[in-house]
């Protein structure tokens, strides 16, 4: 398929929740003509080795991302505030997913 024809198929981001996982994790992306094909393709590309129990597919253009150039403005202020880390608490036994 030529590059121009390929370019007509939008990019989708794929999130897989593994059988024992708690949250969907981003695993990669793929091209597909629509949502149904994206789901099929995600199954075939990213869950071939029984990685998943659930799939989320999001059109890449629908994701709002932060600009790397804004890194300092967005995240710099948090770097010198160690007291925001809850590291002084003792985690009770038996709590596995804090």
């Amino acid at each position: 398929m030529s590059d121009s024809a390929r370019a007509q198929w939008p990019l989708w981001e794929v999130f897989v929740r593994s059988s024992h996982g708690l949250a969907h994790k981003h695993v990669g992306s793929l091209h597909a003509a629509d949502a149904a094909m994206a789901l099929h393709n995600a199954r075939d590309v990213y869950t071939r080795r029984s990685e998943g129990a659930s799939l989320w597919i999001v059109r890449a253009s629908d994701i709002v991302a932060s600009d790397p150039a804004d890194r300092d403005a967005l995240f710099g202020a948090a770097e010198d505030k160690p007291y925001r880390h809850p590291t002084h608490y003792v985690v009770p036994d038996g709590v596995k997913n804090l």
Partner: protein, 254 residues
């Protein structure tokens, strides 16, 4: 072939195995040649599913035969005339519409047959069928999806999909033509009832072709012979490629 302790059962299981093996090999030809990488992987997955089914069927066929052969011996050391697959699965890949037409027409039949075999009065056949049918349920969805997309797509894709369905159609009659082996296995509560399979197949195929804005071809002359070992020339090239390595170094272990 007839030396097996249960000749009819051997022949029946061999047909199931050969259908899966030959179609797996055909689909394998698309590896690294798919229209896009996602589709390349997806079709390879289908091929691997079918290869897995072929291993199970041929291993059981070898056991039924009881002549000391194993699945590999059946796959690699039988000539074309000893293969019992239907002609549909040996047809060359053609363009992607041809491949998907062949796949769809076979998948719908395959699924209906396996559903019935899941209740077979032969525990080994029932077990293999119940394992395979889950994978084939996905194959049906995928190939039907492509038939619909291409049929209901552009003018060009519609024309190619219709031509592909028309070209494959004369090879569908053999899927439902019950012979003495089919009749015997059905009577023994093992084999599938091809008349009910045909009704299921027809309804499904008509629905998908309708969604795809494609015409259902008229039933004309139907090709047959594969189930008896009379094949098209296409199978000999496929087998030559599939078997040449095993035959050039027999008894080699990988």
């Amino acid at each position: 072939m007839t030396d097996a302790r249960d000749g009819a059962l051997f022949a029946y299981v061999l047909r199931l195995g050969d259908n899966a093996l030959v179609l797996a090999q055909r689909l394998g030809e698309w590896t690294a040649h798919g229209p896009i990488v996602e589709e390349d992987l997806a079709l390879t997955n289908v091929a691997l599913d079918l290869l897995g089914h072929a291993r199970m069927w041929l291993a059981y066929a070898a056991q039924v035969e009881g002549a000391g052969r194993d699945a590999d011996a059946l796959a690699y050391f039988r000539d074309q005339r000893a293969y019992r697959n239907v002609l549909l699965v040996e047809r060359p890949n053609g363009n992607y519409a041809d491949t998907m037409a062949r796949q769809f027409l076979f998948d719908v039949w395959h699924h209906a047959v396996l559903q019935q075999l899941g209740n077979a009065r032969d525990p080994q056949i029932a077990a293999i069928a119940n394992k395979a049918v889950r994978e084939v349920a996905y194959h049906v969805r995928r190939s039907g999806d492509w038939v619909t997309r291409l049929g209901d797509g552009t003018e060009l894709s519609h024309a190619r999909m219709q031509a592909a369905i028309d070209a494959a159609w004369p090879f569908t009659g053999e899927l439902f033509a019950a012979d003495a082996i089919d009749d015997e296995l059905l009577a023994r509560g093992i084999g599938a009832n091809l008349a009910t399979v045909h009704a299921t197949w027809r309804a499904h195929v008509e629905r998908v072709l309708g969604d795809a804005t494609l015409a259902v071809p008229a039933d004309g002359y139907m090709q047959r012979g594969g189930k008896d070992g009379r094949h098209t020339e296409a199978l000999s090239y496929l087998l030559a490629e599939m078997q040449s390595v095993a035959r050039s170094v027999p008894a080699q272990r990988w």
